[in-house]
């Protein structure tokens, strides 16, 4: 499972979200690689991705992709991250 976290520059908010999502995913026992990307270069990285994590503003900018997207309101609220990821992993029969 390869997960792409996208923000404006791939260096600030996406790094924070990646760190928090990684903790949640590890605690769920899912094996996943998380990478960060930005709104100018994501199209290259998205080809191998199984899932995208973003905030709502960035979700509006990301277009023409065939990868499931999870939109997070808070990048530090592990409960929100966990709830939304659990739904996704259950749909994929990974949980």
């Amino acid at each position: 499972m390869r997960i792409l976290v996208i923000c404006g520059c791939g260096c600030g908010s996406s790094v924070i979200l990646k760190m928090n999502a990684k903790k949640v995913i590890d605690s769920l026992g899912i094996n996943a690689d998380l990478e960060v990307s930005d709104t100018t270069t994501y199209k290259g990285a998205v080809k191998d991705a199984d899932l995208i994590l973003v905030g709502s503003e960035i979700a509006e900018v990301i277009t023409e992709i065939n990868v499931p997207i999870i939109i997070l309101n808070s990048f530090v609220n592990k409960q929100e991250i966990r709830d939304k990821l659990e739904v996704f992993f259950k749909e994929k029969n990974m949980l």
Partner: protein, 152 residues
């Protein structure tokens, strides 16, 4: 990690009174300039990011982390911390209004990653955003960001 990633009192402004989100970013950005982390052009880039992509830098209720892309305007990785006397609206539907602004200057180096980890760890409990915003003691805030246990 280098020892340089220490947050000093000089990186903190308490009770700032910006009228708009742009002014809030300028205050946090100018503090990065004053501490020698970035050149002044970087502050314009911080505002440009929000104008281009929307207020996505408001990553949690009450917390904005304005920053721009790594560029030649960045001298070294660093952060600035600005608490707001009155909340300011950035236009983020989920997380407005903002009470705590953390300006980021980042190279993709170990210091920057340490800062990001610190922010991820500190704000695991979202209530701390408001506790820091209310805090009147710069040293306590600096201590939190330097990984110390602090009672606010």
């Amino acid at each position: 990690m280098k020892a340089a990633n220490v947050v000093s009192n000089n990186c903190i402004i308490l009770g700032a009174e910006p009228k708009t989100w742009e002014e809030a970013i300028v205050i946090a950005g100018n503090l990065l300039v004053k501490n020698g982390f970035v050149k002044s052009e970087y502050v314009d880039d911080m505002i440009k990011m929000v104008k281009e992509l929307g207020p996505y830098i408001v990553i949690a209720p009450g917390l904005a982390i304005p920053h721009a892309r790594p560029s030649i305007s960045v001298i070294s990785s660093g952060i600035s911390i600005v608490t707001l006397k009155a909340p300011v609206y950035f236009g983020n539907q989920s997380n407005d209004p903002v009470q705590l602004v953390i300006g980021l200057a980042g190279y993709n180096d170990g210091v920057h990653l340490a800062h990001m980890k610190m922010i991820a760890d500190i704000f695991e409990d979202e209530n701390i955003i408001y506790e820091i915003a209310k805090c009147k003691n710069k040293q306590k805030i600096a201590d939190i960001f330097n990984g110390k246990e602090v009672n606010l």
